[in-house]
Symmetry: C2
Subunit: 420 residues, 2 copies
DNA sequence: CCCAGAGTGTTGACCTGGTGAAGAAAGGTG
DNA sequence: CACCTTTCTTCACCAGGTCAACACTCTGGG
């Protein structure tokens, strides 16, 4: 039983997952919206003040939350005592896998990075990558007890998956990575799509904190999309949501690798941008950094290429906003430093293509490195621990001792359909 | 107190809304997925068999559900006795408002039409339209007790709104239609966007029955979109989701009214199609029916125009499927009979623009009249009654007698944010 | 200064609704 | 027939939420 209980047995602090559903809802609300008094929590969670008193007493006794200093804003009645989560007592590890290397961070429950590390990969074979992750997780997690591990990589995963599916860069499909890491690291482990993990990080404690509807669009090797609607990540019934790269943004332009003319990826990917500038300069060794330097120096080919990229990005953002009524869009990815140089064209194209009755979204730019992606995976692990019912937390639940809160009859075959 | 209780007091049958949340979940599950044994319900709703026995006993006693004949498929153990909802005992009224007239239907809880009616409108003033609706509702609802009224019209409404907002065809904004009709008809009333109401109808008891992820795209005066993701209707934080009309589908083509070149509405709306054919024939009095006749007769201009429309529709469907991973798309609206003549071009354009890793969706065509839209509004009313907690059912809840299940402290200020 | 008002937080009795365990019921199969 | 599987029921129990009442702590007014 090398699970979280084993790791945290020496401390009196209960793991986030060891609380009831209302208590977990309280923790979520405090994490996402910041310190808050019991009365406010009761209103938001539609519980009675009495229930809040009881739930928060248990959480205070286990030091999961603590009382904070009262806010100065007086309102006429007895001032409430804000509660806040003891985030540093609940740490997670997140990892991001690319074909070149693995990156990991240890974070607190809010997803703030406390320690990081990385490993180069010389092959993409499953055992080698798994070994690198285990090694890296042990490195960043050895100094502190950790409650869960989240792993992000490209592919068609469900929201909280246990397998790595359909990864083109690594050539993996349906690899039981969750189970492998769970037993090797002794940590509850969840696998997730990398763009959606980044989006979760942005949502939990980044520029989208507190928002319920927004999109994250990433540019780089490909174009990625993470979509949050009414506070829920859009995953798609087969985990394939977010394939936005081949949306048409122009009637002309180069062909993309799939033979589409004028699609977003023929203007926006790193390969498309460097190739266009390379052709203009007769220099096949062009890099994105070089394109930026050229554009900053006034080179017309580089500027035109980036302008077209900005135009394309504005177009796909406009289509998203039109269809989903998004008040906020966040742009990220390693291609962003280049595309951001065409912010004017981006905003112009966005304004042009926005529906007359749609509202202009707030645009934000998130320039980051791979740690931000690993951080997102840690946030996914935290959300998972706070959301999943205990009897579902681990794929090998049958082998674990029963806690008394689990069920005795058969598991449901499929999730409940909520119609609303 | 002219609410549903007043209307149904003479019968022993409890209204759908008068059950607890698990009982309502059972009713929803039985409505959406058809007759089902208790054991299967328990698995789907993640309840114990014991809980199901108790919940269904109450529902059977009030004749809300009944036992059906056992299905022949034997499985080795004791065969379960399927349960089904007494749909004909729970009737709703749905209405659709256009600038020309109002349409209403009385349906059972599954949304099956039992009676219909319509009224022409000579003006779009709020009082006249409201009078027409009240008159029509009284006509279709006089022979049977009815539990709720749903009204669909264009605009930026929330999922279950009480006001009509931002309606361009009627020139209305923020009209308290729900409250007006609620007191005039004596029925709990909910206001909803018309395309989303149609989508709800398609979901509840139409071609998308039992599905959790699909889109409905309508063509006609404009282009409409209803999107259901994980069983939930996408509404947008300001009720404006679904504005898909100005997505770019081509680099060339006519200008739309908003000045976009090559956007979907410049190929797909009734006005765009008829104008293109009218220009080609020098006949300004062109109608969509005439375009269909011409195309069937081999007229090149009509055929080309419809082919372009089919191409445009395929393109916007492809973008939707790419981004949302939808396994199923339903095409509807009064423009569909024309566009369906270009089914080949539609499917070809869809296949071309689909991402290489996306799955081809199932396409369905729903040719219908305005009754189908009114039927959708009735389904919205039924969903509302089954979903909304009792203390929120009616906007003037404060004036109603307390039922004992309601809360004594302040209402929450905002809905709970669910992060997942 | 004291009191009314307003909002927050706590307590204890109570109750709703779900659970566990055990077993009856109803069909197959050898 | 015995035996298995799955469904459904019963009943004691309990987790967790509610109600009602009240204590607490601030503001503002006379």
């Amino acid at each position: 039983m090398a699970t979280v209980q084993g790791r945290t047995a020496h401390t009196k602090i209960a793991a986030l997952a060891d609380h009831g559903s209302s208590a977990r809802a309280v923790i979520r609300e405090l994490l996402v919206h910041g310190p808050m008094a019991r009365a406010e929590l009761a209103r938001r969670l539609q519980l009675s003040p009495a229930a809040l008193t009881r739930v928060t007493r248990d959480l205070l006794e286990t030091a999961t939350i603590r009382e904070a200093a009262a806010a100065p804003g007086a309102t006429g009645g007895r001032p409430g005592t804000p509660l806040e989560v003891n985030v540093e007592q609940h740490q997670m590890v997140g990892a991001k896998i690319t074909a070149e290397g693995v990156y990991a961070v240890r974070t607190d429950a809010l997803g703030r990075v406390l320690q990081g590390g990385q490993r180069q990969l010389s092959s993409t074979d499953v055992p080698e990558v798994a070994d690198a992750i285990v090694d890296l997780v042990n490195e960043v997690a050895e100094s502190q007890p950790v409650e869960a591990l989240g792993v992000g990589l490209a592919g068609a995963m469900s929201r909280f998956d246990d397998r790595a599916r359909h990864n083109l860069f690594l050539g993996w499909d349906d690899v039981p990575l969750g189970t492998m890491l769970e037993s090797a690291c002794g940590l509850p482990t969840v696998i997730s799509n990398d763009v959606r993990a980044l989006t979760a990080g942005v949502h939990w404690s980044g520029p989208a904190r507190g928002r319920d509807d927004f999109a994250v669009v990433t540019t780089g090797v490909g174009i990625g999309l993470g979509l949050v609607i009414e506070g829920r990540m859009v995953v798609g019934p087969r985990g394939r949501a977010g394939m936005i790269g081949h949306q048409r943004v122009s009637g002309t332009g180069p062909l993309c690798v799939d033979g589409h003319r004028g699609c977003a990826s023929s203007f926006l990917t790193t390969a498309a941008i460097t190739r266009a500038v390379a052709v203009a300069h007769g220099d096949p060794s062009m890099t994105l950094a070089r394109v930026c330097t050229l554009a900053d120096g006034g080179d017309p080919a580089a500027r035109r290429t980036l302008a077209e990229a900005g135009h394309a990005l504005g177009a796909i953002v406009a289509d998203l906003v039109n269809v989903m009524d998004l008040p906020s869009v966040i742009l990220a990815g390693d291609g962003l430093p280049a595309v951001i140089r065409a912010q004017t064209e981006l905003e112009q194209s966005l304004a042009e293509r926005l529906d007359r009755h749609a509202a202009m979204p707030e645009l934000r730019f998130l320039v980051s490195d791979f740690d931000e992606w690993a951080r997102g995976a840690a946030v996914v692990a935290c959300q998972w621990v706070l959301l999943e019912p205990p009897w579902r937390r681990s794929p090998d639940a049958a082998a674990r001792p029963r806690t008394g809160r689990e069920r005795s009859w058969q598991r449901p075959r499929s999730p409940v359909a909520v119609h609303s």
